[in-house]
Amino acid sequence: MKRATGRVNRIGLSRSEYGGDPSTLCKGCGHNSIASQIIQVAFELSLKPHEIIKLSGIGCSSKSPAYFLGMSHGFNSLHGRMPALGTGALMANHSLRAIGVSGDGDTGSIGIGQFKHLVRRNVQMVYLIENNGVYGLTKGQFSATADEGQGLKYAGHNPFPEIDLCIEAIVAGCGFVARSFAGDAKQVRSLLKAALSHRGTAVLDIISPCVAFNNDDSSTKSYGYGRTNQYPLQEIGYVPVAEEIVVDDYEPGELRVIELHDGSYIRLRKLEADYDAGDRIRAVERLQRAQESREFVTGLLYFDSSRPSLAETNNLGDAPLASLPEARLRPTHEDLEGIMRRFR
């Protein structure tokens, strides 16, 4: 537990009390920025730490629950299997709010099945994808969200079309689908806040550049001296200490071109002010068009809160299943006798 320091929020906690262990991720990793925003949002919203659970799979991204909300319970589970774990945890206690953190490999490759089925069931949780297009923790292979045609030093050239996890979420029935960029603190925070109050699964796909492995020889600005000339991968690894990439607030409808650590660029376009997030079919179309023009549209892409959450579908009462007393869990002697009579 962190001790209160400085300014406190409505429930008397300081920002630092929402912090966690020191990060062991690379300096400048987008995942660290996202963790900071989670801390900030929890502080600003005066969330009660014991009402939150943190869930993750396996990967650099999935390590981050250790680095925020140290006073909340959490479960760093198996690669690609956070959705199932979260589903069970939230059915056992649907009074909790869950922040799930996953990576693009964790969600898009091994975990795509669980992801789609979580969304279908509308399990009430914020599902955060820290999307860098690579497997960070296993050192730089392509994930399923890597751009078609992209090059990576160790992995070569990606010949396969990228999976757009926002499209995947929408066509699986998700009622809250947003995209952002790790360096856009303000947008990340406002989307996080909205997501935390959504009834059902809220998917946030956050582009979160990997300092260490998003490095392409073909990029003219590549500084990858440390890596590009070496052999073989497992023996020599130098990860330069980098600065976080930050984008300042940009306008609805605007395009921002962001230079990444390796000198390549990504194009972010913020959704227009008059964008209608209520039209599922248009949202998918918009994402497909953005894919064609190699842009990432950021903002709340689709929103519909009409579908019941899984807890509602399952007709749960107010008290969490996990805290029901024995009297409500175990049927009576008479119940048993009744059943026994039936099998005579």
Partner: protein, 607 residues
């Protein structure tokens, strides 16, 4: 490894041909999807209602319509329920008719559907031909359901041949149709008309007969899966996730049948949640999530699902999360025979998960135990903070067994070492410290309001405080503690059930559904002056009494329904000094073991 079943002289072969009362087996041969199960179960339950010990085994194919199905009913005034070759055949399936007839013992009885064009050849059998089409021609039921109701004809014929009172049959049908009188009537119409036809047209020549007794008055008749599901419900299970797979599906069907009845609260809200997962990886994942968050959670599956649960099983063991997994075993490896019974997952489940994972296993062998383990498994899982596997099998799970009405669980639910906010107090909470020396730490549940109460659960190496650690000492200590916890489990799991005979030189060890064949074999052997001891293992890890039992016998035959002698091998590593006393009697072909087979294996033991 000798895989052949010994064929001993059939017990009835040499008997004098007097009336044989309440002591025979009959088999109904039909095709899948013809709805013959109504007729079979009506027959089974009428015999049961007449006070006669009875048991039915459904040997059905892995498809939905058209393939051969056999329903075996064993009637035994002595109460034996193990599989036994049948003397009476109801031959309603043209596809297997010739084979079925060939399997009858001399003196056997063949009741057949005349419309199949069968010409009797064996002259050592009694035949009764039923003109099925003609018999149902007058039924008020028309169209496709004719085929279905046609099965009632053999019920009617047997009512005459075996002397089953029609009122018992009517009562059973009423039971199965849940007292929907219209359905009962239309079925009884066929039963009655066939009965009447039989009285006039058949002349009884075989010796087999039913006579009312009072041996089942206080008993129930139920499948193991129903019993297990009820046990779980009375154990307070509140979360179920599953993926359909034969033969575990009916376990969850029973949960879904009884939960809404027993566990909806005053406000009309459910005190449980059942989720059909997208596969078994998700099912076990959900169960672990729920167990971690404090619900009593279970899943039910079979071999292929167990394989898919491996990674999560290891996480459950290592991250110390309670969960209950019912494995209703079927024949493997691989998809194998989905509708045949086996005890082939013992080794795999015991070690399920890479690394040094080892798991607690319970082996129920009766419906009473299915019920009991249904709730004690959750107690054990929460007390030990680990996944507990209950290994039943298709035979136990899907067939109807007699049993005593279930005893209401004694004592409160054992929820294990869970600290409330107050109990956490103001000292730092150390999740994995072995405070009590039993290897079990104290846990808190998400939602605990004490700010000192939270921790991060993980499948990675950690120290006592649940912090990530790659330190060699931390790994070794934690893993040693887990081993200690397994020793604690050894003391907590249900111990073996032992039945000794003081002069026995041969002991038998068995578990689960094979115990019935062993019981019967021992009685037979004992009648011929051959004493045996019997120890029924009820859980893994095994505990001390097993050692004593082995020590008390010169040779101990480990009887099991798999190829490789899985429990036998586990016992050898448990008791290396006694390893050579253990003799494996393992066999698997998908059919439940018979007493004859066990008897022959016992007689073959070299002393």
């Amino acid at each position: 490894m000798d895989m052949k079943i010994e064929t001993l002289p059939h017990p009835d072969q040499d008997r004098e041909r007097g009336p044989i009362i309440n002591d025979f087996s009959l088999v109904v041969a039909t095709a899948n999807g013809t709805g013959s199960q109504t007729a079979n179960l009506a027959l089974l339950r009428s015999i049961f209602k007449l006070g006669i010990p009875v048991h039915g085994k459904n040997i059905f194919p892995s498809n939905i319509q058209g393939l051969p199905t056999w329903y075996h009913i064993r009637v035994s005034h002595e109460g034996y329920v193990a599989r036994r070759p049948s003397e009476i055949l109801i031959a309603y399936n043209p596809a297997t008719l010739l084979e079925d007839v060939a399997e009858l013992p001399p003196g056997g009885v063949c009741v057949y559907n005349e419309d199949l064009g069968f010409v009797p050849e064996r002259d050592d059998l009694c035949y009764y031909a039923l003109p099925v089409k003609e018999l149902i021609a007058t039924s008020e039921i028309k169209g496709k359901l004719r085929d279905y109701i046609a099965n009632m004809t053999f019920v009617g014929a047997l009512a005459y041949l075996l002397e089953i009172p029609l009122v018992a049959i009517e009562e059973s049908l009423s039971y199965h149709f849940r007292h929907r009188q219209k359905l009962v009537d239309s079925n009884m119409e066929v039963v009655r008309s066939t009965y009447n036809w039989s009285v006039e047209n058949l002349s009884k020549v075989d010796p087999y007969r039913i006579e009312p007794m009072d041996k089942t008055k206080d008993l129930i008749l139920m499948t193991g899966n129903e019993a297990g599901a009820l046990g779980a419900i009375f154990g307070g299970v509140s979360f179920v996730a599953w993926y359909p797979i034969t033969p575990s599906t009916s376990f969850v069907d029973a949960l879904r049948e009884f939960l809404p009845e027993l566990r909806i609260d005053d406000q009309g809200k459910a005190t449980y949640s059942v989720i059909q997962a997208e596969d078994e990886l998700a099912a076990i994942g959900m169960v672990l999530g729920a167990g971690w968050a404090g619900a009593r959670a279970l899943t039910a599956t079979s071999g292929p699902g167990i394989s898919l649960m491996s990674e999560f099983a290891g996480l459950g063991y290592f991250a110390e999360v309670p969960a209950v997994i019912w494995d209703i075993q079927r024949v493997g490896p691989s998809t194998g025979l989905p509708t045949r019974t086996s005890q082939g997952d013992v080794t795999f489940v015991y070690y399920l998960g890479h690394g040094d994972t080892c798991n607690v296993i319970l082996f129920p062998s009766s419906i009473e135990e299915c019920f009991e383990f249904g709730y004690t498994s959750h107690d054990l899982a929460e007390v030990l903070q680990t996944p507990v596997f209950v290994l039943s099998d298709l035979d136990m799970g899907m067939n109807n067994w007699m049993g005593k009405p279930f005893r209401y669980p004694e004592g409160p639910l054992q929820r294990g070492k869970v600290l409330s906010a107050e109990e956490v107090g103001s000292d730092p909470f150390v999740r994995y410290r072995d405070v009590d020396g039993d290897g079990i730490g104290y846990r808190t549940l998400p939602g605990n309001t004490n700010p000192l109460g939270a921790y991060l659960t993980r499948g990675t190496g950690h120290d006592e405080n649940a912090n990530y650690s790659e330190r060699a000492e931390d790994w070794a200590e934690n893993s040693e503690r887990l081993a200690r916890k397994f020793d604690t489990a050894r003391e907590l799991v249900p111990g073996p059930e032992i039945s000794s005979m003081s002069d026995a030189r041969v002991g038998i060890i068995a578990f689960g559904s094979t115990r019935y064949a062993v019981d019967e074999a021992r009685d037979r052997l004992s009648h011929s002056g051959f004493s045996t001891g019997f120890l029924r293992v009820r859980a893994l890890p095994v505990n001390g009494e097993v050692r004593t039992f082995i020590e008390q016998h010169e040779k101990v035959l480990v009887v099991e329904m798999n190829r490789d002698g899985q429990l036998h091998n586990i016992l050898q590593t448990e008791y290396p000094d006694l390893a050579t006393r253990l003799v494996s009697a393992a066999y698997l072909d998908g059919m439940p073991l018979t007493a004859e087979w066990v008897q022959a294996r016992v007689l073959r033991v070299k002393l």
